[in-house]
Subunit: 407 residues, 2 copies
């Protein structure tokens, strides 16, 4: 009797995480080894609550529609598995459901917190000698997973950020008066997304003129000096800042106090607004701050074709690797060439990936700490390549029916 | 000897104002009556500063590229013409330049403040018996010009707002916990753009669940009650608010104090953030606010094809109406049918349009003041129809070279 599979999504949304889901579904449907593919709704919590969708009969049309859709079709959770010593009940409940459903493989699509879940479930299965293979599929707009060259969701967010930055630059250049525009971009600890704003530059526009990442210490007086130096020359100074920039003592530069979430990460907002007030006070020039906010992770209409193709393959290949008997892994992407852009997909032990974070290398940031280098642009450029064709209805993109997530 | 034309753009940018410019250029190039078409850089100030671009040799390719581009190719200004009694020097300087350049017609693309300039220049020319025809071409994302059915730029901003609202709704529905999302949308005195967020609704998603426009008084306790009523039923409550909502006394609901600009309009920001804090304090549920900010007026990648086509025609027809000897007018659009959507372009005296504003009719807002009616959706739907094909280079939209605006 063939075994079944369960797939789930976890963590923050990206516009590529449904493409990975589509890849897993497609892989299982076409698998000789597996029978059914169930989607667990709201991540691992769907397993605990017996909340599943049977995705086995997904049509090719649905799989395609799913590939080009925002957020998470199966919903998400922010649930950190307890340690095995203190929370053994949770593990027993999960694996009892797996057994009841004749599950042979579990696929978890997520970021480094989700890979912690993959790691823990893998350890439990191994310790108990349970024959269920556990696989991770990467996603995160933050691009901060180690081992893999980059993560699905990042390229699309980068494309949206760079496009929006370019469009906002056009918006800014129109007035014949000095002004400062500060654009706050997501990225708590890693500056990859903020760095991607540099792709907005053209032969005639240097915007963003200044880029500040959390990988270097942020000095308010240096920031003011940078702007004062550029204003008379450039007239309009456009700045990209990560939400997670901090001073030399590690204190976040933010208008609002930081509150920790369940994983101990500070929840930030207001960095741009804080700097807007600072510029207004210290320089007295026209200044505006824009926080791109959740738009950068949900704008499926501006997805990178390269990103979605990779996300799909990372999901589909996870099924192949599991069919070959592998477990405790995350699928990864290794770049083999920049020009032409080429990559290989393989897998790597999840225990080396979970709970770790990849920062921007210091040498990809200029010495002054207010720009990125050419190497960064070489790295970024292929990831935003390619445009997708969405279906539009009444002038708006039509996305899959997610009524199972809506009361 | 044939006369020449000058065209300029003024006020806040939209993604359709370059389409109107393209229409004027195309009209003059193909005109039997006029010779050259000059672009005045930075609105009417370009005339005062002798800052012109000769656009007469624009290629068809350039005119097409211009049609699909963000912001204002000729730059803008926020310059209010003085009254004729006190500022006669300004008028004399403008008309001296017009005479020096053998100008027969002046085209000004802008909103209600810009139409004030068209009106004043028209009056001056008439009073002095000067044979220069003055024409206005409408634009404003706010859709608040009177007489015309709607304004170029509005449909594209509406399409972007509704698309982003739909994508943010997908982003919000993924968690199995109660939450509130508040989206702040531009619109100081008119709620048209905020109303357009209602286009995001689908058969399975009612987001935005609540819509508050500045045409009704905003009551904070009623707002909290609205959310408290919906939360247990809908789980995720998504709210669209105009930046310009105000209480019964006319005080803006805003976290920051209002500062008046040169035209006496209050410059607002922080309405969403203020309501976020209010919900957090009064209900204690997970809440986030998003200010779409300048993205909604600069996102040329999500322009409405209908909007750009109309914008182009309103520019092109302005040339035709001037050729017929008309002056002191703004081109207008009259809707003749909703289904199929049909309209006619004509012109109307600018003196009836300048400095006036069109609000959302009270009967297009529901009685509770927290939603729009079916009539509003019927009005809005055709305006966001149709997608454009942009040229992409290295994964990003390529827009015209605006190095003449950049030092």
């Amino acid at each position: 009797m063939k075994k079944n599979c369960i797939v789930a999504q976890s963590g923050g949304p990206t516009v590529a995480i449904n493409a990975s889901l589509a890849g897993v579904i497609d892989g299982v449907i076409k698998s000789e080894k597996f029978d059914k593919i169930y989607g667990s709704v709201h991540g691992i919590q769907g397993v605990l609550k017996n909340n599943f969708l049977d995705l086995t009969d997904s049509s090719e049309l649905f799989i395609k529609e799913l590939t080009y859709s925002p957020a998470m079709y199966l919903g998400s959770c922010r649930f950190k598995l307890p340690d095995m010593e203190t929370g053994i009940d949770t593990y027993e409940a999960i694996f009892k459901t797996f057994a009841d459903m004749n599950v042979g493989a579990f696929f978890y699509i997520g970021g480094n917190d989700s890979m912690d879940t993959v790691d823990k479930l893998s350890q439990y299965a191994k310790n108990k000698g349970i024959d269920i293979l556990i696989a991770g599929v990467p996603k995160t707009i933050d691009n901060d997973l180690v081992v893999t060259d980059h993560t699905p969701g990042f390229g699309s967010a980068a494309k949206y950020i760079a496009t929006s930055m370019r469009e906002m630059a056009y918006d800014t250049y129109i007035y014949d008066i000095e002004s400062v525009l500060i654009v706050e971009i997501m990225g708590r600890d890693a500056g990859w997304l903020t760095a991607a704003s540099a792709l907005a530059r053209t032969e005639f526009s240097e915007a963003p003129h200044l880029i500040y990442l959390p990988e270097t210490n942020f000095d308010e007086q240096k920031f003011i000096a940078d702007i004062k130096e550029l204003l008379p020359v450039k007239k309009n100074v456009i700045v990209a800042v990560s939400e997670g920039i901090h001073d030399a003592k590690g204190n976040y530069i933010s208008a609002t106090s930081a509150v920790a979430d369940k994983f101990g990460h500070a929840q930030l907002s207001g960095t741009g607004k804080y700097l807007e007030n600072l510029v207004s006070r210290e320089i007295g020039v026209k200044v505006r701050s824009v926080e791109i906010n959740v738009l950068q992770r949900s704008a499926a209409h501006m997805a990178s074709k390269t990103d979605l193709e990779e996300a799909f393959l990372l999901g589909k290949m996870a099924v192949k690797f599991v069919e070959e008997g592998n477990s405790e892994f995350m699928t990864i992407l290794t770049r083999t060439s920049n020009s032409p852009y080429q990559y290989e997909i393989s897998h790597s032990p999840v225990t080396h990936i979970a709970n770790k974070a990849k920062s921007v290398p210091r040498e990809w940031i200029n010495e002054a700490g207010n720009d990125v280098t050419e190497e960064m642009l070489t790295y970024l450029t292929p990831l935003v390549e390619g445009e997708i064709q969405l279906n539009y209805s009444n002038g708006l993109p039509s996305y899959p029916d997610i009524s199972h997530l809506i009361p």
